[in-house]
């Protein structure tokens, strides 16, 4: 998946020091390494690709080979401070099921994904009449792993429906933070810090800005 050091910056920003972190689709473990160095986090990754697992192990990252489409049955409820899903929500078969599982396992959840309503995508579809293809969505329609793309606004709607509390959101266009009101139109990458409402009242009242 598309993961840049800039996207890691935003996630590192969302994680409090000394936390336990479960990174789903952790790639070569680079984010977890940064969290360890910059946040003294104790992290663990889940990855399906054997070559990336090898890189994780070489980087000293604990990693479990798992398929996110099979859920998180190997993880007990409320056992991690953060469960992270970065640039991966749109490739899983059942995003709602996975999101519920993340809320179950993590006291907080961080989700980062590309905002499909970004103006360039809209123009490519409405003016060009073609499926959007650009630096964020670099695939042809027939070979894309992205089967569940959504917009910033769609995700808010899903959180309301699932009684998930949005504690904080960071909406980026390259290095620029997009202010409220323009986010659905101008944000390329969005990051949400979430908590479950029903089982996590304390986290929902967290002091995040």
């Amino acid at each position: 998946m598309h993961r840049s050091p800039i996207s890691y910056d935003r996630i590192v920003e969302l994680v409090e020091p000394e936390s336990t972190v479960l990174d789903l689709g952790c790639g070569n473990g680079e984010l977890l390494q940064r969290l360890r160095l910059e946040r003294s986090a104790h992290g663990r990754g889940v990855e399906i690709e054997e070559s990336l697992i090898r890189e994780c192990i070489a980087n000293g990252i604990s990693v479990f080979q798992g398929n996110l489409d099979e859920g998180l049955q190997d993880y007990e409820s409320q056992t991690y401070d953060y469960v992270i899903l970065n640039q991966t929500l749109q490739v899983v078969h059942q995003p709602i099921v996975l999101l519920r599982e993340m809320i179950r396992v993590g006291r907080r959840v961080i989700v980062g994904f590309p905002n499909f309503a970004f103006v360039q995508n809209r123009v490519q579809l409405t003016v060009g009449g073609r499926m959007p293809k650009n630096s964020t969505l670099p695939y042809e329609w027939y070979d894309t792993p992205n089967i569940h793309l959504c917009t910033y606004r769609d995700f808010h709607q899903l959180c309301r429906q699932e009684q998930i509390v949005v504690l904080r959101q960071i909406c980026m266009n390259g290095r620029w933070r997009i202010p409220a009101g323009l986010r659905n139109l101008l944000a390329i990458d969005v990051y949400f810090l979430l908590a479950g409402r029903h089982r996590n009242g304390i986290a929902a009242k967290a002091s995040y800005g």
């Binding site: 336990t20 104790h42 663990r44 054997e50 697992i53 090898r54 890189e55 994780c56 192990i57 070489a58 980087n59 000293g60 990252i61 604990s62 990693v63 479990f64 080979q65 190997d74 993880y75 007990e76 056992t79």
Partner: protein
């Protein structure tokens, strides 16, 4: 519990990695303890003390100055101390894990000091039922005490003490060797930095125990077994060979047998059906059984298979969480897709407990057609993971120092 000595490669090794070199000619060594009154033997789980105890071991590579690069290899059921290299230039094949142990290999003997010892209860140089009982002057036979995986590890700890190593960089083994690697992590957590557990379990399934029971029955039904007292006469070769054949079936998989043998007949002499013509898989099993009796003791088969069956960390420690609560090492756990004797869910059970406890554990299920034997054969997939894991351990060890 597997063929620790695949000297005759029984599966086409198309993916055998480039042989970057081997350990050359190696010599087995011996360490004996518990001979003097003031030197204890091994206090066994059954309540007895085994003494004296002789351990046969081999080493590869060089121990560094701060003694921080030592790795102990733990062999499987029918393995021995001869993990790598050759005893004689004319040997048919190298040690049982030569693909993994040597210069530039996963257990890189240019970097690490690698040790492998034969387990107690075995028959390849260490004290076992075929050894002479000092109190009677005769071979132990069934007078040999029942030994457990934990007893094997207690003896290994003595060897590591003797070699002057406080903390091993890692212990590593598959199958019964993996059980020992788990036992090390559970009972001697301060003595290891890493534990590599391949194709193993914290407790064997009823299915696995059942196959072991049939193997033991085959030996005990051979009249030559004579209640384990056969050392002065003909050994129960037929019973042991049949036990080995059963074992071999459990180490392979449907796919590996289909690829290797299919339904081919060995030598089709006539077009007529008769009862004595053999399928290739039959003559293969005959061959495996036949060569096994030349190097393995029937009583050791019984004792070691019992040790495997009795191994149960849940029962002995209360729970898997309790078993590993004090473990401070990093774990690498690997399972193989076609291994139905030690299936992946057994490894996952261990990994889940370690994750619950917040331990450093990495887990992968390697896709392989080779069944349980895969941990001895899949070095191309396994080696990079083991190598990366050891590299991390060594780097952290150096950072600590």
């Amino acid at each position: 519990m597997s063929d620790g000595v695949p000297r005759v490669s029984h599966i086409p090794m198309a993916d055998r990695p480039n042989d970057t070199g081997n350990c050359g000619i190696v010599e087995p060594r011996y360490y004996t303890f518990g001979e003097r009154d003031d030197d204890p033997g091994v206090h066994l789980d059954c309540g007895q003390e085994l003494r004296p105890v002789r351990l046969c071991y081999e080493t590869y590579g060089t121990l560094n100055r701060d003694r921080s690069n030592a790795i102990l290899l733990l062999h499987a059921f029918s393995g021995d101390a001869h993990a790598a290299g050759y005893h004689h230039p004319e040997d048919k094949g190298p040690g049982w894990w030569d693909m993994m142990v040597g210069p530039g290999k996963a257990f890189d003997t240019d970097r690490y000091y690698v040790i492998c010892s034969n387990v107690i209860g075995g028959c390849s140089g260490s004290t076992g039922p075929g050894s002479v009982n000092p109190t009677t002057g005769r071979r132990y036979g069934l007078d040999f005490p029942v030994i457990t995986i934990a007893d094997m590890v207690r003896a290994q700890v003595r060897l590591i003490d003797y070699l002057g190593i406080d903390r091993l960089l890692a212990v590593a083994g598959g199958s019964m060797g993996g059980m020992q690697a788990l036992e090390w992590a559970s009972s001697f957590p301060e003595r290891i930095s890493g534990s590599i557990c391949l194709a193993t379990t914290a407790r064997l399934s009823a299915q696995g125990i059942a196959f072991d029971a049939v193997g033991r029955n085959a030996i005990m039904s051979d009249p030559r077994w004579n209640n384990g007292d056969y050392y002065d006469s003909e050994p129960p070769a037929r019973g042991l060979a049949i036990a080995r054949m059963i074992g071999h079936i459990t180490y392979l998989s449907d796919e590996s047998m289909r690829l290797k043998f299919g339904r081919r007949l060995q030598e089709r002499a006539s077009a007529e059906l008769d009862l004595f013509e053999q399928f290739e898989v039959e003559s293969y099993l005959e061959h495996k059984g036949g060569t096994f009796v030349d190097r393995f003791d029937a009583n050791s088969y019984i004792y070691l298979s019992k040790a495997i069956d009795y191994f149960d960390l849940v029962e002995s420690k209360g729970s898997l969480d309790a078993a590993f609560v004090d473990s401070s090492c990093k774990f690498l756990v690997l399972s193989f897709t076609s291994d139905w004797l030690y299936p992946a869910y057994h490894s996952k059970e261990i990994v889940r407990a370690l994750m619950r406890l917040g331990k450093d554990v990495s887990y992968t299920e390697i896709s392989s057609p080779y069944g349980h034997d895969a941990f001895l054969l899949e070095s191309e997939r396994q080696a990079p993971l083991v190598s990366a894991f050891l590299n991390t351990l060594m780097r952290e060890r150096e950072a600590d120092a």
